[in-house]
Symmetry: C2
Subunit: 156 residues, 2 copies
């Protein structure tokens, strides 16, 4: 299998998952990023915005925009942290909590669907390797990786 | 491992890969989607826009926009297909071909980096399972998957 296919499969998985989430929640105006933030808040309620951004490795500006949108739509509230007055902790509203089961079921159903036919031990093993790759990706030193590859002399 | 982590790992892998590609080519103004299209064109020159869209499972409107941008930037040209005058075949320009080695090396380096420490047989096995999952994702019947999950009666 060639390298292009490796990256193509990750891309397809991601795009299709996004389309699935967007389709499921378009009626209530909840987008992919918002859904992912809510799913992660359900297990980490009280986390602050910076921690959530680091946990998901999502750009701080995108995190701020998404959290603001979820707040405007009434899914969460932000309260000033008692420990650090510059930080804001995130809490779900009743509306946010109302969608917990639906959102988590939706994620579960997707993983069940794409992995149908792969036995549990194999799946655990595969996701353990995917976790290792995601952790490496999360710690990537782009400058170092790119520096050794880019030829700035290309004649265009 | 819980389901949220599964989707989180895929998300992290994808976002970090996009940041890596965008960082590598920001100087020449080539974005993530454009880079992915070029990488796939190198092996499928002459393919038409609809075929490329299906191959990558990328929305037709996004494909059209990305191809148009690559054409404007001088990386490819579109020619009317001899077989079907409504279709346009995609060919790389000299400028597009000049970046072939650099783009393919960049993808290869990323996969090598994230999979460092995983032996070749394991990696082949893992990517075979990822391929199976991507193919399932590509054939997903969203309506069917979503229908059984969404509770339209939720009181918000």
């Amino acid at each position: 299998m060639n390298i292009r296919n490796y990256t193509r499969f990750f891309g397809i998985l991601n795009r299709q998952f996004q389309t699935y989430i967007n389709s499921a929640f378009k009626d209530i105006g909840l987008g992919y990023s918002e859904c992912i933030f809510l799913a992660n808040l359900y297990e980490n309620e009280g986390i602050n915005q910076e921690e959530l951004s680091s946990f998901l490795i999502i750009d701080k500006a995108i995190t701020a925009k998404t959290i603001k949108s979820l707040e405007t739509k009434g899914f969460l509230i932000r309260t000033i942290s008692k420990k650090d007055r510059r930080a804001k902790n995130l809490y779900l509203t009743d509306k946010g909590l109302n969608y917990k089961e639906q959102i988590l079921n939706l994620l579960e159903k997707w993983i069940e669907y794409i992995s149908d036919g792969i036995d549990k031990d194999t799946l655990d093993f595969v996701f353990k390797q995917i976790q290792i790759m995601a952790e490496k990706a999360g710690n990537a030193d782009y400058d170092k990786l790119i520096e050794s590859n880019i030829n700035h002399e290309i004649d265009i």
